[in-house]
Amino acid sequence: MSTEEIAGKMIEFDADGHMVNAKDWDETIAEELAKREGIETLTERHWKVINFMRKVFQEKGDAPSIRKLNKESGVDTKELYSLFPQGPAKKAAKIAGLPKPKGCV
């Protein structure tokens, strides 16, 4: 656990670097978190994934894993890996201010 100030807000992070309170999240924070993950600019395609993740999380209480993203977000597996290299589900969840997805697939 650690607390950091991002965009004028005090944000709490868990041991894996995911935000503890999804409610503290906003778009400015997302942009800052993306930079930390090596993504300089969030494009409209990135936002499509991030917004889909937040929507599923609000409905189900768990961030979607890669198969759900591929089937339902409108962004396919290949593009997901190019938008969020090195683990798209985990990385997109991090930027979306959500905990790590619990699903295995």
């Binding site: 894993s65 198969r67 591929n70």
Partner: protein, 159 residues
């Protein structure tokens, strides 16, 4: 005492050697899971594991109901015609609920995620198979020597 830093896994090389549902899925879950964690993954299909990537067979993968004590049904019941198909369809329904895709979709997912898929030359020759018999995600048919070359720096997992 030296404080050795434990290095995270960077690359895995997974061998799938069995052709039953329960023989194929663990390897696919491991490969896809590796890619999800940013770990490089190579999949090597050998012996009956080839069924997972043979175009005509990959949609007909079944769970073994005979000689499989994990099924918890008597062997003679497991041998009744249609039981294996029934058990397989029930299992596939349960898997779909937890977002585990059918074999073909799973193979596509692994490949799209950047895993590399290969078939074993020795078995391909033994079964008189050709490159055209495989789904398009199979990159190459390779020898065991080439398998080791491609596995350089990887943890090898046999399933």
């Amino acid at each position: 005492m030296s404080l050795e830093k434990i290095e995270p896994i960077k690359k895995v090389s997974i061998i799938i050697s069995k052709g039953s549902l329960d023989g194929i899925y663990p390897g696919l879950i491991l490969a896809n899971g590796a890619r999800m964690e940013g770990i490089e993954a190579t999949l090597f299909f050998t012996f009956f594991g080839l069924d997972a990537v043979i175009d005509k067979r990959m949609d007909k993968i079944k769970v073994a109901t005979v000689g499989n004590p994990g099924m918890h049904i008597p062997t003679w019941i497991g041998g009744i015609p249609g039981i294996s198909a029934l058990a397989s369809s029930m299992m596939k329904k349960e898997m779909d609920k937890i977002d585990i895709p059918p074999v073909r979709e799973f193979i596509e997912m692994c490949s799209d995620a950047g895993a590399e898929l290969y078939a074993c030359k020795a078995t391909v020759d033994m079964f008189h198979l050709k490159k055209e018999d495989f789904c398009k995600q199979i990159k190459e048919i390779i020898t065991v020597g080439e398998f080791y070359e491609k596995s350089a720096g990887a943890q090898i997992i046999f399933t």
